[in-house]
Subunit: 326 residues, 2 copies
Amino acid sequence: MSLHSARPLVSAFAACLLVVAATCVQAATDPLPSWNEGTAKARIVSFVQAVTDPTGRDYVPPAARVAVFDNDGTLWSEQPVYFQAIFAMDTVKAMAAKDPALAANPAIAAAAKGDLKALGEVIAITHGNTTSDEFAARVRQWTKTAQHPTLHRRYTELTFQPMRELLDYLEANGFSTWIVSGGGVEFMRAFSQEVYGIPPERVIGSSIKTRYEVRDGVPVIVRLPELEFLDDKDGKPVGIHKAIGKRPIAAFGNSDGDFQMLEWTTSGPGLRLGMIVHHDDAAREFAYDRGSHIGGLERGLDEAGTRGWSLISVKNDWNAVYTPAK
Amino acid sequence: MSLHSARPLVSAFAACLLVVAATCVQAATDPLPSWNEGTAKARIVSFVQAVTDPTGRDYVPPAARVAVFDNDGTLWSEQPVYFQAIFAMDTVKAMAAKDPALAANPAIAAAAKGDLKALGEVIAITHGNTTSDEFAARVRQWTKTAQHPTLHRRYTELTFQPMRELLDYLEANGFSTWIVSGGGVEFMRAFSQEVYGIPPERVIGSSIKTRYEVRDGVPVIVRLPELEFLDDKDGKPVGIHKAIGKRPIAAFGNSDGDFQMLEWTTSGPGLRLGMIVHHDDAAREFAYDRGSHIGGLERGLDEAGTRGWSLISVKNDWNAVYTPAK
């Protein structure tokens, strides 16, 4: 081989090395490794690049980079029923084991059979008539021990790994991420920091009434068995406005309970992002949308296209579903 | 002069230079220049040093460094009446000038004469029946133009310079600072970022009911003329718990409306700081405490000592009161 003919080969080899190296760097620094390459991932990345580019027309200053996330069905699973309902049932059974009068309450058996009115009573029993500190301790204890009936993992291990990567990716790009859920605010706050990296002050949820009291010289926040605010549907934009006082620029949901949150978010001026997690993976998670008793999705499916919202397919867009157990 | 005898002189001169230089450096870097040296300033500085020293026994991680501030009488003046009441009167007069039916409403004249029930009606007229965006624009316009009746400055120029320095000092030391006020949350949010550097999501206040609506295809948050939450007295710990979900470690107030906020804050474990701005400077600001129709302070004065709270004397602790006009 003459020196002359070797040159293109060397060049080709060098070029190839460069391509391989670039690919390696890209793989090593991909902030969303659990997302398959596809339109959902591409839309997220291009949105983040657009709003963070100070020279671009879509630039948004960090203070306005507010992203809101539903919790049940968006950040963790919600089948066969909302995990908070399972918490209520587990808790009332533990309470009944020590309290014969409570054990005789027919609401417990009825709620176990799916009676929603009875479940409401069980929630009032387990969520009210306690202090905030006691309630938080009760939730933390439950999340450490309780297991999902069919998936046999702790509930905090049923959080979606791709969404946790997304939360981190947004935070790394100057966003503040918020949970906006129909679930109870004090229930979620007991684990939001540890599980999602979202501090209590950035969790918006449904709430019951509370009262400040000084008991034997010790100030406490007492939880009353009475609903104060339902953070669902029309309530979500109201809850967002109440807590944040700014309109988000990105919203992520999975059911029609998130419709108004996506509508409120994406109808503001400038570039906006609205995305819906579509549960279409019965093998790895659950498959449900129209007519589901939990997380029903109809209007969102019908209008996503005209409103510019993107679906996230659990089956196709995620190469991993759950966060690896620790 | 022999060389021998000159030596101590040179040393003394060098030592003096060092002292002067150190004083200059201290003055140049004093984060609280509007505070006179005294017990109030010393208590603030030693508290901040203690909770930020990672090797100390009183160390508090940044996420738990939550400091809460009342607004009226603590961050800005509140005499002769709460500035928000003046805003309501100014606004209703401007509205009445364009609306003969409203002009005929006897509540306006009655409120101007100090009738509190009529003032409530004026507040409902001017604060409800509008969208959040319209209301915020109305407040911003007012803060740009309206002037205090006796001090002849814009209201946002009646904020306390020493407290603004304190907010900055705490933020620089990893605290998150929050407003917790009986004033209206949307009223304060219209200027909190610009005036105090506190973003809307860290303003807690009284609120009226709101509703999400889509008007001719445009989503809006509608303000209803009905009180939802009164963030005063017992309501302050409740409001803090609702919005932050953590107990603060430092609280600053000025009236008995702040009593429970100070109590809740300072009764937690670890080092805590509770301080009360005492209005005792009729020459530069106002002098009032017991029996005042606005910002009454009685229980706070009586119990500050036993509860370990410190008074901040406007007269003695502050060498400047108001933020210089821009």
